[in-house]
Every structure is written in structure tokens, then in C-alpha cells.
Symmetry: D2
Subunit: 482 residues, 4 copies
């Protein structure tokens, strides 16, 4: 049996989401920065590279946005002094992940700017597919770009449309006519909090309330953290404008029929917190269901069901519930790996994977194990985990994956390796099983994927290559299809 020989990093999962956004408006004019801090803390799993908060006082002059941004986790960037300097009753926050090359201060969010009508602060989660085109168009009429984030492009469009629009929300609406792709945006204007979600609903966004304070958040879990009540999801394509004058105003003119939508299924499979609800579906329940489906569709005799922590655990519980095979923990995961952790050298005797994940021999020894993970990307980590289980004495290791085989690039905000590095690229399931060294392998089927979320319309592009929106041409020919 061929063994997996690929590199392994300490990062268990080589796919990443891009951001968490959070906005607040206290109609009673209390400071919102501190609650935004806790909101971002609850969204930290969506981005750990940089974060920022921008606030302004809706009763003050229109050009007075205060902000602080920095590289690192929310609890590293902000301290009490910095938070308490940020006086203001309206504000937005952002936690950011990015690919290595762009992980620089200039790209941190929110983007704060002065424009013809005062200040704006924007926070954005997603990825535009026509960004290059829009940048080129704007450049040709004199725009200068100080960052490489789509947020700046969106800001420019809003600023330009604002000149001949009656309101900032109208400018946002005209901007939405231009931009294509995935975006959940929160904007603090001098007097309004605005939230918009792309018509396909790629990224989640929801609205909450705490007394007289309105909240917009990437995920509902952040509402719980700050003690706010969930009101509803922002609809795909909806522009929500929150102000004391009009409360919550909704513009649904960009909304599509449900069957055209394309929610990112990976939000349910992996990105979002299990305690979040997205578009009415529980993330945790979706994962439990995926496990149950696997037990129905790929059953196998075994002694124990285990999850690859943390992301495989819920599906493993679902599998255990459905199959009646006991659920157990096969690994200890060391959670102290920080940004400055020194990776073991290639030739060192320390096992790279064991630094982070160590099998519990007494659990594994002599057992037939069903090992559940949410996805296989490069397959290197999965292969190493299978061997660790075998070395720890597992008699059999049956791998079950709570999503279909990952075969295509994502253009809408998931950072994925080049296509030829995907283990499922031009390989059969049997090839993959051998590469992993597993005794059997089962993926979730495409049909089950939709069932996980009660047939909500989802984007399955990374499994099928069919996307709700056309991807940019250059990328298809260039980077991905070697």
C-alpha cells in the first residue's frame, strides 16, 4: 500500500474563509466599541490575521470617524485604553484572514475614508469576480488604490454614485448593480448603518437587537455573545438601512428567486461556528445530519467512531447516533500553537503532526475505527492521521468525509490550494483511499449535501465546477487548470 509522502504544516486545514463583519448602532447614543470587540471575538474563527474597529458619533461632525486596526487577534490588537478611546454610537468591526502575500497592515479593515458626504467605514467579507475590471475602469478616470482589497473598489463606487444619489443607500444600490461575486458588507455612514448581502447569498449576514441597539453580524453566534436577540437573516440581495428615523428599512430590488441562489455550503460544513444559525438552518444540525447520511450511505462494521478534531466531531457524533457504534475521542489536540510557534524542521525527530495532534493509544489499540473528517483538501494531514492511528494500534481505519470530493477552485472567498494540489484532482476514490492508507473511504454525495440544509439553494462549485456566477476568465485558464 502506497503511503502519503506530502508535507504537513501545523495548520490542519489548508482552506480558509476570508472574514467576519460586525456592525452596531445604538440609538440611545451609548459607545459601541466595547460590544463590537466582543462581537469580533465571537467571529475570530473567520479571520485571525488582522482586525479593526471604526466608530463615529452620529451627533458629531460628519468627518469624525475614529478607528484602530492592527495585525493579529482581537485580544492582541485591542487593550482597554485603545477601546475606551473609541467613542461613538455607530461603528463597524472586522476580523480578517488573507493569503500570505496580502497579509499587510494596509489591507486590514474596516476601510475608513472621507468622501464628499463625510466619512464612511466599510467592512467586507467575500470576493468579487469582476474586481480587476472595476479597478481598471476606476483607474482610467483617476482613481488611486492604496490597498488590494475589494472593499476599496466598493468604496470608490459608492463615493462616485453618491454624487448623483439622494442617499447613501441609493449609492450602495447602484454599486450593487456593478459588482459581481460574493459580498456581505457592513457600512457605517455618518448617520446610518447599512448592511448588504450579495444576491446569491454566498456569505452569511444577520440582524439582531439589544434594547435600542441594532446589530449586524456575519454569524448569529456573535449576537449571543453580546446578549442581543436574533431578528432575522439579511436576505441574499437585500440592502438593509438602519437609522433612528426609519428603523430597519429594506431594499429587496436586487433579490433573486430562491432557486438562483448559491449559499456557500462550506459555511455549514466547516467555516461557521456550530452554534450559529444561517438562513434558518443550524450549522450543528447540518453537520450531525451529514454524519447520519454517511452512516446510512457508507456503513461499515467498527468499534468506535471518532472525529478529526474539531471540525470532524459533529459529523462523527451524527454517525455514532445513526449507527449505534460508540463515539469516542482518539486524539488530544494541543491548542497552544500561537503565531510565533516554531515549526519542527524537516529533519528533526519531533513529529510535526504529533506536536499538534496526538493519538490516545488506549482508545485506539486493537480497535476498528471510523474516522470522520469534514473534507480532504491536499490529503497530507489526513494521510498522516491515518498512519498515526495505525501506529497507535488501530486494526482498521475507515475514513468518512462529510462533504463530496473537493475538485475545483473557489472564486468567492475561500482560499484553496492550486488545483493540481487537491488530492481529488484527477484521482478516483480508490486512488485516494490508497494514498491515505485507509481501509475504506466514503464521501458524502452531492444529493445529501442539499439535504443537509433542507434543500436550500447552495453553491456546489468546488465539488462540481458549476458556479452560480461566471468566474473570471483569466483564473480558469491560468492558475487552476494546469
Amino acid at each position: 500500500m502506497k503511503k502519503c509522502k506530502l508535507d504537513l504544516t501545523l495548520e490542519a486545514k489548508p482552506i480558509h474563509d476570508e472574514c467576519g463583519v460586525f456592525g452596531m448602532y445604538d440609538f440611545d447614543h451609548g459607545d459601541v466599541a466595547s460590544s463590537i470587540y466582543y462581537g469580533l471575538f465571537a467571529l475570530q474563527h473567520r479571520g485571525q490575521e488582522s482586525c479593526g474597529i471604526a466608530v463615529s458619533d452620529t451627533r458629531g461632525p460628519k468627518g469624525n470617524m475614529l478607528s484602530y486596526k492592527g495585525m493579529g487577534l482581537v485580544n492582541e490588537v485591542f487593550d482597554n485604553d485603545r477601546l475606551s478611546d473609541l467613542h461613538g454610537d455607530i461603528g463597524v468591526g472586522h476580523a480578517r484572514y488573507s493569503t500570505a502575500g496580502e497579509s499587510i497592515y494596509a489591507n486590514s479593515q474596516p476601510l475608513v475614508l472621507n468622501y464628499v458626504k463625510g466619512t464612511l467605514a466599510l467592512a467586507h467579507n467575500g470576493n468579487l469576480v469582476n474586481a480587476n475590471e472595476l479597478r481598471a475602469r476606476l483607474s482610467e478616470t483617476g482613481a488611486i488604490f492604496q490597498t488590494t482589497i475589494d472593499t476599496e473598489t466598493i468604496a470608490y463606487l459608492i463615493a462616485r454614485y453618491r454624487i448623483h444619489s439622494a442617499s447613501v443607500e441609493e449609492a450602495v444600490s447602484r454599486t450593487i448593480d456593478d459588482i459581481k461575486g460574493a459580498y456581505s458588507i457592513v457600512i457605517a455612514s455618518p448617520r446610518k448603518l447599512i448592511a448588504a448581502r450579495d444576491p446569491f447569498g454566498f456569505k452569511p449576514l444577520c440582524i439582531g437587537r439589544r434594547d435600542n441597539t441594532y446589530v449586524v453580524s456575519s454569524e448569529s453566534c456573535a449576537l449571543d455573545t453580546i446578549g442581543a436577540e436574533f431578528i432575522r437573516d439579511v436576505l441574499p440581495g437585500e440592502i438593509v438601512t438602519i437609522s433612528p428615523d426609519a428603523g430597519i428599512q429594506s431594499d429587496t430590488s436586487h433579490c433573486l428567486p430562491e432557486d438562483k441562489m448559491g449559499r456557500c455550503i462550506f459555511e455549514y460544513i466547516y467555516f461557521s461556528r456550530p452554534d450559529s444559525m444561517i438562513d434558518g438552518k443550524s450549522v450543528y444540525e447540518a453537520r450531525i445530519r451529514a454524519g447520519r447520511y454517511l452512516a446510512q450511505d457508507s456503513p461499515v462494521e467498527a468499534d468506535l467512531v471518532v472525529g478529526v478534531p474539531e471540525s470532524g466531531n459533529a459529523a462523527a457524533m451524527g454517525y455514532a447516533m445513526e449507527s449505534g457504534i460508540p463515539y469516542g475521542t482518539a486524539f488530544y489536540k494541543n491548542s497552544y500553537v500561537g503565531r510565533t510557534f516554531i515549526k519542527p524542521k524537516q529533519n528533526a525527530r519531533e513529529s510535526s503532526v504529533r506536536v499538534k495532534l496526538n493519538p490516545i493509544r488506549s482508545v485506539v489499540e486493537g480497535k476498528r475505527i471510523i474516522m470522520i473528517d469534514d473534507s480532504i483538501v491536499r490529503g497530507t494531514t489526513s494521510g498522516q492521521i491515518v498512519s498515526m492511528l495505525k501506529e497507535a494500534g488501530a486494526r482498521e481505519v475507515h475514513v468518512r468525509i462529510s462533504s463530496p470530493a473537493f475538485r475545483y477552485p473557489c472564486y468567492f472567498g475561500i482560499d484553496v490550494p492550486a488545483r493540481d494540489q487537491l488530492i481529488a484532482y484527477r484521482r478516483t476514490e480508490e486512488d485516494i483511499r490508497q494514498l491515505l492508507g485507509a481501509d475504506s473511504l466514503g464521501y458524502l454525495s452531492l444529493d445529501r449535501l442539499s439535504q443537509m440544509v433542507d434543500d436550500l439553494a447552495i453553491c456546489k462549485g468546488c465539488f462540481t465546477g458549476d458556479y452560480p456566477v461566471d468566474p473570471p476568465e483569466e483564473d480558469i485558464r491560468g492558475k487552476f487548470d494546469a
Copy 2:
């Protein structure tokens, strides 16, 4: 029903162990600092306040110990430059927890010193009960103390006994005649690595090997991390001397009969990593068993068994296995709380406990829940977690604790609140149940405690007030018995 009103901190568990120790000796003279780093990383859960590594070259001059220590986690204190400066084939490392007042640089370990025979580096886990007495005695003959840690007292005794001893291990042996309490010590002398464990075996300590390199570690999990093979535990009371001349030499003259020993049962219940083996028993299995015993002794009809993460999860799985009731996850635990995290203010709207732990409503709603935790100390967190479950819609919450009621102080290295702050202090189980707001409450019985570890001799002092060694008099009258 009376509700719990006490303070809640972000620290889920108000009891703490004191340290992890790690030692290495490469007979082939390779540098050991890098492997000690990974060893400490695997022991990080035993102490997060400060850490340090000291190494020396056994072929160099006897006074040449290199060391680096700092406040914070292993990955914060060390970087590549610092590690690669630490050349030496013998060394010890330490990860430290301490109570607030003593959390200062001067108290970080290993303690490195020059004495009549060159250098020594000492790392210590535990607590002496006669430290004040020994310090007074040493002071009266001119000793000066630059720290407040027991390690310095031990070092002084070794230095003084070394004058008239034939070897450093003989000086260690005579020191052991003097010191009382809990101690697992690792010492690097100019040419020998020495490990000693107190006669009661309070704290774990084991020996491993990687090719020609010998390793001593608080827990076996750290051997896995660095790719070393487990050899055996250091016996309670044993002094092990490791050197190229004599290999592993054992002095068992201080060993007691098995029935006199007093291993800290909290190492199995809570402190140690589940993937460690201590004195032949798997920590994970002990926890699973505790859950099974609870299912047998305190059964209750319910829909789901959940653990309070992370420490209650294994016992919850054991309960699920035994009872046949499904195991699930009721909470999301936010793991991004760092040292600089800003705690919500008392009057803030952010829920202190929800910042760290958020119930998954879809799991909990309408269900009868068995909630397993490893212990209840003050009871504040447990009470809040019960209410969170109820607020999230749980129909019933049945609390089961995988240890007996915690009623007495610990003098051997566990940092516990003052006795009158313990929820079980002068309260019946029914009082406690009411205070928690639970529908039923069950503790593990004292008999089951011993069964968990196949009747190994253990210390049950914190449950019974009977200790293997007499505690210091002043403490009993003073701090604890209000």
C-alpha cells in the same frame, strides 16, 4: 429555587496544577534545547505563566549553563534565535503556573545556579509542606533567598549536602530525607541528569528514550511529541541518575510500600492530558470509567449526554457508552481567549460566560440533558452553565460530576480557593443541587475514585481531609477553616 450569584471569571476552572518538568540528555552530544521546547509545548497545559530552558555541554567546563526564561507561553518566550543560542547536550525545561502574587520573573524556572561543584539546573513540580521551616533553618546559617519557590530551598539543601557527599545523587538523597510534600524534580548537573519523585508519588514523572537520548517528563504525552519511546514511570520515592557511564541508575531507598502512597487523583480527573499514561493507567480510560460509574450509580432518563468542554467530555462519552443515551455537543467553546483578553465589565451587557461558552440552541431545545463535569469548585460557572442550558430551551438538566465533592484544601501543589468559597463546604448535595438550579445532581463516590485507577493508592485529601502527609499547622488554622 435559589440562583447562583457568585462571580464568574473567564477561567472555567478555579483550580490549577503547578508545573510541568522536562529533562534530556543526549549521550551522542547533540543539542537538546529544541526537543525540550517541544516537550514543554506538550506540557503547556500544566503551566502557562512562565517557562524556561537551561542546557549545558557535558564536555565543556563545569560552570557553563546557558538558560533563557520568560513570562508567557512556550511559543511566546522562545523564538528560533533564542533556541539556537542554547547549545548543550544536557538540559531541563519547565512550564509554570503560580498564584497571582508570585507570578514574577524571579520565580520562573529552571533555577540555574553555581555551587561548589559547578552548575546545577533544577525544575520542580509540587509543593513542600515544610518549606517555611527549612527556609528558616537555612537562613539561620546564612542563606539568602532570591525567590519564593521551593526549588530554591531544595537547591540549597543539595548544595550543602554536596560538600560532604560523594556524588550529587547522594546529596539529592540526603535532601529527600529533609523535604516533605509533593515533588517531581529534574536536575541537570554538569555530567548527570537526575530525576526524583516524592515517596507518595503525588506528581507524575516518567522516563523515555529516543536512540541514545534519555528523557524525563512530567507526562508521557511529551514523549510522543518528540518521538521518544516510553520506558517506565519513575517510582514514587525513587531517585534516577542518568549518565553515559552507568545508564539509568536507580536509588529506591526512599520508596514506601504501595499502600502508603498518595498519587494525586486530580491528575487523572483533570490536570493531565488524556493521551498520557500515569503509573500504568490511561488518563483517558480513567475518565471514561468515571463516566460509566456515574451512569451505573446515578442513572437518569434523558435524551442527550453532554460534557462541559473540554474536561467533562471524556466522562460524558463514558456515560453515553454505558447508558446508551446519545452523546452530543451542547456548547461552542471559544479558544481565542489570550492573556490580554479584556474581561467584560460587571455592568456590561456582554455575558461573561457566553464570551467563552455558548450553548447550541438547536441541540438543547426541548431536550432532557445530562451534563457532565469533572468537578465543581466554587460552583459559579456550573450554575451559569445550567442556566444557559435552560435558557436555550433544555427541559431538564441533570448534573453529574466525575469526582466526589471537593471540600478540603490541597497542600501539595493544587491552587484552590479558600475553603469557605468551595460550594461543597458545609452544604449537602441537595443544597448544592438547588444552588446550581439543576434537576438532579450526582457525584462520583469515593470508592469509585479508586476503581477508576484499578485501586492504585491515591491521595483523596481534597475530598476527605485525610492526607498522606501532615499538612503545615499554620495553614489549617489560618486560611482554610474559617
Copy 3:
């Protein structure tokens, strides 16, 4: 005699320049970042709040500018790793001073941006008087501003004019038609290094060369530091374009006749380094001359001439040379005050001024002292220094100032206190003398000011209120004329 009661900060001089700029282009394609670092180090006295370096490779793609910026001194912001990451043969650097409110990361320079023709990096020293007007005009056509620095306004204009210009230098030329005020700019475009100085020559700017590398610098001293040879000053109003194709190209279409120019005389009096030459005049010699003129115009019998360190020393030497009275040092100046220095509290017993400046009693005792300073702004420090000398036993203290009385605001880049805080505002020389507690007081006359620099055309606005360019209207009515 009335004593001076005003506040004293540790900052000896309450006026500040705004920046140092530095640019390099190595036609042999070596990396320039390291030399820019030393260049900025030599210009550090011009700005200590933030600094940055941007470089690009003229042979690489046009959108590939690498930059690093940070708050603090050059030696705090850059380390070896950061410098060596900055590969590129063309680049600009900047050291920045700013008033408190704007001392934020977003305002640090160089400004790096993408525009229709690739990337630009701009570094700017000076102050535009029509910035608000230009920003408003740009905003009305959709511009967004992410900083509050004039550099961004200049960048926008260049980007817009570039659309219909044949070259970047043509766009710079058209930009110069629009902007009014003080500016010395260095710009790195994908293939050219461009330097421009405003037509009045407010701020210095010069060109140097080291082998095949061209250098542009605020002051000539930075050329010495990096081993470059001084070529010439950039002319007031000149645009210099440096490229391998055309060498140094000069556009003098904006140049004014010499008598219209308005070099900032404070560059000679105080801001620039004494080892710099500006427009053919030695800064050190100008200061020596000022001292000589004072000796001629305001002679007094005395035992010793001393300077208020460091800025008064050269003029004091000039006074000593001319008068024959010996030159000495009356003060020790503590140079260890860093950014984090804790200022003595108002009610503390520590003398705020003595923390930084302590008189040498043995020098002063019983002597008649001529104390030379370059300027008096608020007068608080000067008054305290006079009293210190008296307390240390000086029989007489005769104050001589090597510039005229400072009475008006500066609109061209010097940060000055509000007008009613200037000691010379609405006070006679005799009033000021009394306020300082001096035995006599002498200022340099306006005529002598021009003689200092051989009658070069200079701006005397802060002494006379007559400026070479009209200041912005709102400022005159608002802030300064209480």
C-alpha cells in the same frame, strides 16, 4: 520682577518641522532599501513620529511596490529582516513629524498606490495652503480619502492628470499648477525617480550621486552618510526626472525669479543639521554669522558666552569669536529622554526642566553670562533656564536670540503654538525681558536675517506676517488671531 509661570514640557522647543524625504535609483539595479535606511537616519531630526520605505524593481511588473511603514524612529521601525525583504532598485523613504491629532499609522509615508499606470510611491515635506479646496474639488468627482495628509491630495492630482498626459512628469507639472504652498516631493514611479520643489523653495531638496546611483534628499548631510557626492540643489520650482534613458532631466517652467522666492529661514536657524548646505549656504556658517551679528549689534560686557543646547551653541560660538569673550558650556543635557519617558507630575518635587537640562554650577557661579538661544517661542523654557542660571549663582544673564521675535503663524509646515501663546505676541522687548527675568535681551534684526544667508530670498512670515503666498483665509480669522 515678574517670573514666568507657564507650563514646561520636556520638549525644549515647541516648534517643529514636518518631514524628511529621501529617494534613490540605482541604475545598476542593486537594492536601495538599506541605503535609504541610513539616509532616513541622517534625516531623523526632521521627524520622529513615523517613517517608512517603499521600493520597487524597475525591471519587474509595474504594480509591484514593496513597502514598510511604522510609528517611531527609523531604528525602531526597521530591523534587518524587514530591510532585506525590501528588494528593489528604486525607492523613496520618509521620516515624519506631525501634530498630535494626526499622529496615526494611516498618515505615515511614503504613500504607496496603484493607479492607471502601475504604482507610485510619494514622500512629501511641506504644507499646502489650498489643500481643503483641492480635497473638496476632488471629492465632488468621487475621490475617497483614506488619510489626512497633503500627499494623498497630490497623488490624486497626479493620477488624474496622468490620464491625459504623455508622461508622469507631465502629470506632476500639471499638478504643480494646482497646488499652492510648501512642498518638496520625491516620487518613485515604475521607471523614474522624480523630485519637485515648490517655486518659493520653502523646503530644501538636493541631488547626489554614488557611482551609478542617484539620490534625492531633503538635506545634503544624508548624502555624506551614505557616501554619495553632492551634485546640486533642486531649484525652487524645478521638476527633476531621473531615469537611465535620460539621466537627470530638468523642467524649470514653474521657476520664479530669485526675488520672488521664500526659503524658510528656520531651516538655517534651527531645523536643518549644521553639516548641511542648503542652496549653496552652510547651515553652520549661517548660525555662526548670526552669533557674530548679535555680538556686533547687541554687545554686552560679560565673562562667558554659552548656548542653550544644542540649537544655541553655534551662534554662541560665533558670538564668542566676534566678542573675544570665552565660550563655555553651562548645561548638561540629558539625551536619554525617549518616547516613553514619564514626565514629572506638576506637584512633584522633581524639576521638569532639570530632568533634561542641568546647569553646571562651577561654570556659572559668580559670572556674567551671555546666553544664546536660536528663538523664543512661548518663552517658558527660556524663562526657566534664566532662573536656573541665576540659582546656580550667575551674577547676570544676558539673553541673545539668533532670530527676530516670533510673532506670526506659519502656514508652510512649521507646527507653531496658537498665536496668543507666543511670548512676543503683543509684547515689547522690554516686556519679554522682564518675563524672562533676564538682565538684557537682544534679538537678531530682520536685516541681519537676510545677511546670514548672503541675501538669498527668504520667507520672513513668522516674524513679519508677510508671506510669499497668501495663507488660507479660514486660518487667519480662526485659530491664530484671538
Copy 4:
């Protein structure tokens, strides 16, 4: 003419003093930490590697010393929070310089310890010549050493003698019987502030007072800074005990006759601040005198006298006064070099010396220059400065040194290069002149050295090899006499 080829570092002077000490006792029980901070700030020139403050409350329990120490400058180590935590009415502070190998946290001072009578905090400036002997003796009776500083040895002796002494000052007195070498010590005991100076008076130490607060300081300048009045110097050999009961008590039993003393003349020549008085002599005046003597003994026709900044300036002024040749500034010295400054690489085009020191061409050109420096150690910097002056156009450069030729090691606290690296080692004055490339060279004579300080008894060991105390044998044979 042979040119100097040796390395040059940014550190202008390769000799260093070792420390500044400062102690305070407020009989009115106010906190002293803040004033100690300013005191250390005034002594920062004596040591920049680490610093610390220890305080205790004389009305509190005897074991309650609070301290904070750190690597770096006073203003880097302390912030407001740290200072305000240090409550106590008695305390000592220390600023430390050390040779590279020992620049570690463990060696920072004050040394704080518990001993039989409570706590002690010690701060020490100097070097013992019998430290190894004393350490060996103490080790043989069981002492352990956690640092490599003499302060620990002194502390041990005090602790041991205290057992059979009636008071701590008696223990200090018996300690002084044992230790040989240079030491100025300040000690805070639970109820007394003690200061002691070695019988030769190598290092300065003086006493001051501010209202009811007593102060002990290495130099008098620190008294000025905190607004205290100078009372007197501590006598060489004197032990001063300060307490509310007895005020200032003096024990002069170890004092020697004046002609046996050996004050370090380099305190006057270079180390101390010019605004300090040591043993009744002004440091500044001594330097002025040295310059005057040089003018008398080594006259030469020239146009300008300049000092090598900062240490040569005062002697240059003295030379100018005596000779009538004008005094000027020939160099700009960049004061922004911090700890993290990146030194130019050997092969870089940046001139290492010009980064720090740049000649002012307009001053130097065409002139005959007398260049005064306080000493020549390796001669590398001096040689480069001479060439810089010549390159800047000086017609002649006449070097005058305000001390005799430095030829022997110092055993009393000055860190000097190995003897064969001293330029004067086995070289004639003419050899040295050629090596420097100077047109003439003159040293101060040994006789003039004593005259500088009105024939106070001084140590001339580094010039003559004759020391007031015998140096340790091993050093003489080992390191220095190659």
C-alpha cells in the same frame, strides 16, 4: 604614512563604567519610587543595559520588598503603572552596564533577597578583586550563586555576618573587612538605608537631602534632578547608616589616610557628568583644566580648536581659552542611534563612522585644526576621525588627548579591551601619531593628571600599571599581558 585599518563600531568609546546607584529614604513615609526613577535617569550615562528599582515600606512587615527590573534604559523599563505599583518609603535603584557575556536579566540589580532578618535590596557599582576567592570560600560552606555579579557575594557575606552581629551596619562593616576592590554600595534594609564606599574611593558616592527625605547617589547631578540639596560625599571607607532614629550615622573605622586613596581619575576625565562634583572637585572644571594644561604643554599654531563630541568638548574649550585660538564645532553627532540600530555591513557603501559623526566641511576646509579627545583606547575611531577631517579639507590635524596614554588593564570596574588591543601598548607616541595620521600628537602628562583635581589622591593604574590594591593574580598572567 600607515593608515589605521581596525574595525570601527558605532560605539565611539570602547571603555565603559559599570553602574550608577541611587537610594532614598523618606522619613515622612511618602513613596520614593518615582524620585528614584528620575535619579536613575540622571545616572543613565553610567549604565544602559538594565535597570531596576526596589522599595519597601518601613512600617510594613519585614519581608515585603517590591521590585521591578528589566533590560534597557530607565524610560524603556518603567512605565507609569509599574512605577505606581512600587509603594514604599525606602528604596534603591540601579542602572547597569556590563560586558556582553553577562548582559542578562539575572544579573540586573538591585539584588533583592530574603535573609534571616527580613529583606535586603542591594545596588553596587564597582568590581571586587577577590570575588573568585570569596565565592569559592562561600561555596565550600554551601552557598549557591544565581548570578555572576559581585553584589551577590557581598549580600552573602552580610547575611552570614548578620547572624552574629547586633545590627545590619555591623554586618556590613565585617563584610568590608573581607572584600577588596572598588565598591560603592547602597542597601535598603527593612528599617535603614546604608551606603558604603570602598577605602580607596574608586567610585563616587554622595549624600543629599530634600526636606525629610535622605538620598544617596553615585553622582551629585542626580540630586539636582530630583531637587535635593547636596550634603557631602561619602568618605572613602565610610559606612553611612540613615534612619529616623539616628539620622545620618557614620562609621569611619575603615577609612585610610588621604595619601593611600585611589579615586578613579576616569570619573573626572570621561565617566561622570560634567555637572557633577566628586570629592569637592567639579568634573567640568577638571576637564577645562586638562585642556588648559595641554595648551601650555603641547602648544601648536592653528586656526580652530574642536572637541570630539561629546567627551572632548570641555577640554577643547579649555584649550581654546588658554591658547586664544577660537573654539568651534567640527562634527555633527547623530544622537538617534538606539539599541536596535542596524550597523552598516563591512562591504556597504555607507560609512560606519559617518552614520554617527559627520564633519562640517565649511568649518574644516582649509583650516589647521586642533582636535581634542579625552582618551585613545584602540585608536580606530580616532584614526578615522582624523581622516574624515583631512577629507573634509583640513590642512593640518593636531591631536591632543586630555589624559595620558592608556596602557594597562583596569581591575576596578572599567571594561577595557585586552591589552594588546590598546593602541599605546608597546608603541611610542610617534608610532601612535603615524597610526592616527595626525600632524602632531600630545598626551596629558601624569603630573598634570593630579593637578586636574588639586592633587587629590587618585588611581593612575591604567596609565602606569601601579594600582592602589593588588590585582588578582590570574588576570595579570592571563588575559592582559600577551
